[in-house]
């Protein structure tokens, strides 16, 4: 096996663990957002377990790469990755959304190691990422900033203020993934308020745009490598994804945007995910 094949195989195994964590923590919590967490698993897994230069034992290491989960409701995918990476004990996952627990319904940077910025009110993460990218440049650090936007989230005007600024400031240390799963709470993104044509919009805003399969780890990693080589402009990867990916009864179902699985549904989902985690 070539080294990339081995890498992909290891990452694929990680995605099963991450998905299983997501399902179990949401079932334990009794509320939360599975659909948009599951659609972003490959992107987040590739970033945390292959791409990013981070030190879980030193979460505030100044030269680290940073990940901004702008679509904050997908907190479970971030928490799963952080726990698996060792930023905090996996047991914290089972206390998600509980009174007094560390893991809040939406990411809270103040209380959670590894969370780079508090998000939840949509459309704000890219602005903060711009600030991080500017700070890295001012300090002469090699840090790279990665952002995950939702395809419904880009309906927020602030995203485009930030997109304009990132290109104006030539932030080539910044890379965005759009989790293009085509669903938002009230239905199909294209029907509620279409952001299309997304590619043309980002192009017009001065970004380097790549289109990838957001569930293909190799394509994600390749997009990151491409972005590293693009000078003088930020890169966006529009990642075609399936909301609820990996759990048969959740895939492409708008109702699974913000609903937790029951115990029975959790068991079924964990089985489908290869039984890497006990119910």
């Amino acid at each position: 096996m070539s080294s990339i094949e081995e890498t992909i195989k290891k990452l694929e195994q990680k995605t099963k663990i991450i998905r299983s964590y997501i399902i179990k923590m949401l079932a334990e919590a009794g509320s939360g957002h599975p659909g948009g967490s599951l659609s972003a698993v490959e992107i987040v897994t590739a970033l945390y377990f292959h791409v990013m230069n981070i030190k879980p034992e030193e979460p505030y290491w100044p030269d680290r790469d940073r990940f901004v989960l702008s679509k904050g409701h997908a907190a479970p995918v971030l928490y799963a990755a952080l726990a698996e990476k060792g930023f905090f004990p996996v047991e914290e996952l089972w206390k998600l959304r509980k009174t007094g627990a560390m893991l809040q319904g939406h990411p809270d940077m103040k209380g959670t190691p590894g969370v780079e910025i508090s998000t939840g009110s949509l459309g704000q993460g890219l602005s903060a990422a711009n600030g991080m990218a500017l700070a890295a440049r001012l300090d002469g650090r090699k840090s790279r900033i990665y952002v995950l936007l939702g395809d419904g989230e880009v309906e927020e005007g602030q995203v485009w203020e930030a997109a304009m600024a990132a290109a104006y400031y030539k932030l080539d240390n910044l890379m965005v993934f759009v989790d293009h799963n085509h669903l938002q709470i009230d239905g199909h993104v294209e029907e509620v308020m279409s952001p299309e044509p997304l590619k043309d919009k980002f192009n017009a805003f001065g970004w380097h745009v790549v289109e990838i399969d957001g569930h293909n780890l190799e394509e994600i990693i390749q997009a990151v490598e491409t972005a590293k080589g693009i000078k003088g402009k930020p890169t966006v990867a529009i990642a075609e994804t399936i909301k609820g990916k990996g759990v048969s009864f959740m895939e492409n179902q708008v109702d699974w945007h913000g609903k937790a699985p029951s115990r029975e549904q959790m068991k079924k989902a964990l089985e489908e995910l290869g039984g890497v985690l006990d119910a």
Binding site: P62, E116, S121, A128, A135, Q158
Partner: protein, 317 residues
Amino acid sequence: MRKEKMATRDAYGKTLIELGRQNRDIVVLDADLSKSTRTEYFAKEFPERFFNVGIAEQNLMGIAAGLAASGKIPFASTFAVFATGRAYDQVRNTIAYPGLNVKIAASHAGITVGEDGASHQTFEDISLMRGLPGMTVIVPADAVETRFAVKKAAEVKGPVYIRLGRPKVPVIFDETDYSFELGKGIILREGKDATIFATGIMVSRALEAADVLADKDVDVKVVNIHTIKPIDEDLIIRCAKQTGAVVTAEEHSIIGGLGSAVSEVLAENYPVVIKRIGIQDEFGMSGDAGELLVHYKLTSKDIVEGVESCLKMKKAL
């Protein structure tokens, strides 16, 4: 009071240069109002540390948050109405909730914006910022106090809102014997009949009112409350105990600002008669700043009348 006049925004702009020379982590952001907010002074000396994000206040606050999350000390400036209103959710969720070290220094607060009218005059900014957990709120009374307040804001960790004004206002304090203590009011004049708690441009007016009242044999204490949050509870209670009557004066709505803060403290600790001088529950309008201050009853004469009505209430108790 000296004869000299200077706008608090001018003092802010000059102080930023001082800070910029002392600390490389100071960065300044503006949203296409750098000439008005005076951040252009900093921009000229430190262009690499100045970010004009254009007419995009939401992005302004978000970028400031990201810079702060990476260890910078950002001062984000625009008009007060936009900083606190247009970008309220960004200030709330991305700055205040995580407690990020962003300094929001907003100019053109209050009715003295003048001719631009109601869309640009905010009387609710203190209220909005005061309601945010962990947000420090400072309203300097003059240029000297502004300089000290801005330097203090850069020193303390966490979000700070500094309210600045457009017009030239009297310089009250002497730089050589002024000291700024965050959260501590300053007694400017002793008196036994009533206390005037004033903030911002109303401090100099309160001092004028005290002179007028002295001629009428009314002896009032004047206290400068430059920090609205955290409010100086001890001093407010002590003054209320000493004088038994309180008047508040602010270039802000009587809802949610200094008047509310003082009333809250006294209602829970030492109820006395209170009269709030400020803008009533209404929007502003275009006009000359001086004329608007008269129209909205924010003159020393209005403070005098406030004290007199307060003393009448006190007597009737």
